[in-house]
């Protein structure tokens, strides 16, 4: 059963107010050549009705997957979801016309005009409705132009117009400003704000902190398919204060003066770091008043990554438990390795055998050399002794070795 549980309002006591979207333990994994990847892991999401709610997170955080699960474009492995109080995806006609979505390519025909494309949209029922949607998105003037001549921002607005055709209570938008220039992005953000102002709940995804801060009333921060923080945007994201890092000739005095001026200052080596600065110029002004001049200065705004780190120190998901097939493969591999040494082991053993062989040969050579040296020494001593004592030694002949002695014996015997 793909959806073994159902969202129960009692699980969300804070959901006394109207809720547009709620999920409970939503989980989605994708199978790949390197095993299963967890896209969404036990997601408990609560999107209040009205206003803009942003799913914020870095790439691969599972934002788009959540939207696709909510829209029925993908099926969850586990968990439950409700859209406008209707359980997904076993939905009948209850949601028809109540949910508009912009996920992926809307599939417009470039040769046709914007109006014609909207007229052929499944949700379009008449020309007035289409014209209203075009006016709402600011495309009334471009309605008679071919979609192929639209800018990316206009295409996005046309897609939003298509999503608005049925007058939805909930608008789901995936990364609305992706690929847009700043002007286009600003227009789309303004449009989304206007749509939300008319009472439609907007659920959108974004990976831009600034966009979420500007646009969203409430936000859910995702990382690794999990919720790492949610709540009002002002509480979760904060005011996106800037940290200023600067170098001053007299760092200690600069720290003291800035502290006196009410800044949060800390030393970082030679540099002075001022946290939570709303206006970086205020720091330099405060220093200049005290005749302290900045030699080097850089500003850094809080990034999404640092926000995720702040909210969840370890946002990385735990690796998925190996599937039965993977466990079986691991067992077989272990058995195979135990039964037959790998080529690496065989190579190592061969190497060790060669080393042992060489060591033995070396030891034999050393032993032979030592023996030869000992024999030579013995021969030399044998010659020296007759020269010192007996007649044989007087003429300097060395002391005979056992072998030579034996030879002598042989000659005597002969």
């Amino acid at each position: 059963m793909p959806y073994p549980v159902r969202v129960n309002r009692a699980d969300h006591p804070q959901a006394a107010a109207a809720v547009a979207v709620e999920t409970l333990g939503l989980r989605k994994t994708y199978a790949g050549v390197r095993g299963r990847t967890i896209a969404v892991d036990g997601l408990d999401l609560l999107v209040p009705a009205r206003g803009v709610h942003a799913l914020l997170g870095p790439a691969k955080a599972g934002k788009s997957t959540v939207l696709r699960l909510l829209l029925g474009l993908a099926r969850a492995d586990a968990g439950a979801a409700r859209l406008l109080g209707v359980a997904m995806p076993d939905v009948g006609r209850e949601l028809a016309g109540r949910v508009g979505a912009l996920v992926g390519d809307p599939g417009f025909l470039d040769r046709l005009t914007g109006r014609r494309n909207l007229l052929m949209h499944p949700a379009a029922t008449g020309r007035e409705q289409v014209d209203l949607a075009l006016r709402q998105t600011g495309l009334a003037d471009a309605a008679a132009d071919a979609v192929g001549s639209y800018s990316l921002g206009d295409r996005r607005r046309l897609a939003l117009a298509a999503a608005l055709l049925s007058g939805p209570d909930l608008l789901i938008v995936d990364d609305p400003t992706r690929g847009l220039d700043p002007t286009g992005a600003r227009e789309v953000r303004t449009l989304l704000r206007r749509i939300a102002g008319r009472g439609t709940t907007v659920l959108m995804t974004t990976d831009e902190l600034v966009e979420a801060q500007q646009l969203a009333d409430t936000v859910t921060v995702l990382a690794g398919g999990r919720v790492v923080g949610d709540g009002p945007a002002a509480d979760v994201i904060g005011d996106l204060a800037t940290a200023v890092r600067l170098r001053v000739d007299d760092g200690d005095r600069a720290v003291a003066e800035l502290k006196a001026a009410g800044f949060h200052v800390r030393r970082d080596g030679d540099a002075v770091v001022v946290d939570g600065v709303a206006e970086p110029a205020g720091v330099t002004r405060a220093l200049a008043r005290k005749k302290l001049y900045v030699t080097e200065m850089s500003t850094r705004r809080e990034s999404l990554e640092s926000l995720v780190r702040r909210l969840a120190p370890e946002p990385e998901p735990t690796p998925a438990a190996p599937s039965r097939a993977e466990r079986r493969a691991a067992r077989q591999e272990a058995r195979r390795r135990a039964a037959r040494p790998s080529w690496r082991q065989r190579r190592r053993e061969a190497f060790e055998a060669r080393v042992a062989e060489k060591q033995a040969a070396y030891a034999a050579r050393v032993a032979a050399r030592e023996r030869a040296a000992a024999e030579k020494e013995a021969t030399r001593d044998g010659r020296r002794k007759p020269a010192q004592g007996g007649p044989g030694k007087r003429d300097g002949t060395p002391e005979p070795s056992p072998g030579s002695r034996s030879n002598d014996d042989t000659e005597e015997t002969a």
Binding site: G72, V91, D105, G107, S166
Partner: protein
């Protein structure tokens, strides 16, 4: 009905529909031109009676199958938009199947009429002066043509539904368009290898469109109505498999 009409509108303006129509037109013109050069002066009536005309119409039926696949899976298909409006997949699937069956009818009908009129013209020009097939037998010819055309249209509708099922199951238009002819030809080759031509969909399609006259003359696959039932069953199987696949498939 409103959604079916929208689907038909969308398909009509898509480039894929024009390519399919152009393909059919090229085929019809080729057949007529070849008939003009190789005509034995048999006349249109004999062509209809022998099932030769209906045999020619099998290629537009294959085009209909490809058109169905393109309608369900082609670029600018908009399945996602449909699902967003109405998340029930079964409903979207049925909608696509019905739209595919209806969408191919005008094109196949036009191709059939062009074929018939072209062959009639060839017989008129190149046939013998006292050609009984094109002049004296006009009363019997038109009903025969109409019945043959109706059978071709029914087969085209079924082929389009099967093509839409394949398209919905596969999801990629290029894969669906490749799968349809390759699967048909592969099946033919396998059945020929097994000496089981009586199970061949193409043989049954030929028997169905040829109709009772050719069936009375004796075919390898039995009566024409049995071939119709066989084809209906095959389409039902393909459609069911496509529905099951479409239910499970994830949409990008």
């Amino acid at each position: 009905m409103r959604l079916v009409a929208k689907e038909l509108q969308r398909f009509a303006v898509r480039p894929a529909a024009r390519w399919v129509a152009a393909g059919m037109l090229v085929y019809v013109v080729t057949v007529v031109v070849l008939a003009a050069f190789t005509s034995d002066g048999g006349g249109l009536a004999r062509t209809v009676t022998d099932g030769e005309l209906a045999g020619y119409a099998l290629v537009p039926v294959l085009f209909a199958c490809v058109a169905g696949a393109l309608l369900a899976a082609g670029p600018n298909g908009g399945t996602r938009a449909l699902l967003t409006v109405e998340p029930r997949r079964d409903r979207v699937y049925r909608l696509r199947a019905v739209a595919a069956a209806l969408a191919v009818l005008p094109g196949v009908a036009a191709a059939y009429l062009l074929l018939a009129s072209g062959l009639w013209g060839v017989a008129l020009v190149a046939g013998p002066a006292d050609d009984p097939g094109t002049t004296t037998d006009a009363a019997g010819l038109l009903p025969a043509l109409a019945w043959s055309g109706a059978r071709v249209l029914v087969l085209a509708g079924c082929a389009a539904v099967a093509g839409a099922a394949v398209g919905a199951a596969v999801g990629r238009w290029w894969a669906a368009v490749s799968v349809v002819p390759v699967a048909l030809l592969g099946l033919e080759v396998i059945l020929a290898g097994l000496a089981a031509e009586r199970w061949s969909p193409l043989a049954h399609a030929r028997a169905w469109v040829a109709g009772p006259a050719a069936s009375d003359a004796g075919t390898s696959v039995g009566p024409w109505w049995l071939s119709g039932l066989f084809l209906l069953g095959a389409v039902a199987v393909v459609t069911t498999v496509g529905l099951l696949a479409f239910r499970r498939r994830e949409l990008r």
